[in-house]
């Protein structure tokens, strides 16, 4: 499953970022890397907005498709 598959309010853990050094570094410096958890704020086929560490980041669709995630069950 990739980030763009998630629906608003879903929570997920990042499993892998598939891409070269540039994209991995860009996402890492913004808090997206293996092991970090995010909550989807909006996702509508376009950019995905996620919340992490109290901050928010919008990720373009193409990039969101390269971020492998594992959904976390929300109690």
């Amino acid at each position: 499953m990739v980030l763009s598959n998630l629906k608003p309010e879903d929570q997920a853990r990042i499993v892998a970022v598939e891409g070269g050094r540039g994209i991995r570094q860009k996402l890492l410096l913004r808090g997206i890397s293996e092991g970090s958890t995010v909550r989807v704020v909006s996702s509508d086929g376009g950019p995905v907005v996620v919340e992490l560490d109290g901050g928010m980041i919008a990720i373009g669709e193409g990039m969101a498709q390269r971020i492998r995630v594992q959904r976390i069950a929300v109690s």
Binding site: Q25, K26, L28, L29, R30, G31, D53, G55
Partner: protein, 174 residues
Amino acid sequence: MRVLLMGHPNVGKSVFFNRLTGANIIESNYPGTTVDYTKGYMRQFGEDIEVIDVPGTFSLDPKDKAEEVAVKMLRDNKDAKIICVVDASKIERGLYLLLEIIEEGFPVVVALNMWDTAMDKNIQIDAPELEQILGVPVVPTVGISGEGISAVVSKLKDITPVDADAIVERMGGI
């Protein structure tokens, strides 16, 4: 002396700027609030020191307009001293930019800002140890209350560039 305030977006650089210069520029809790730069002055060490609030940037390899402004500011001010503001509660993210600035040969003081938030989150940072490893002053600060700001300013006087390779060596290599 000219001082540049650098750091990630949304780490409190503008709050710092206002504290240092007594200015009142808009602070808001959104990243990317400062896309242009602001200049002000503070009187310190018997001289007028120019302080520049640089837009937030994640690295010195610019990915957008605001970052381009930030990197250009740094490159155009080779003789400047840097206050690198790092969000202490997200310290692992901020160290990359800090190392890049050190690598460029600028004298740096590190402000571990939002120290109170880091404490609340139970994040423990050994500032003296970090200072030892980096070879540059590391000062815990709380921008909104002003804690640590005068300590940062006092460190500005005597800072000099440090050797990035020596940092790697102290880390035990990478």
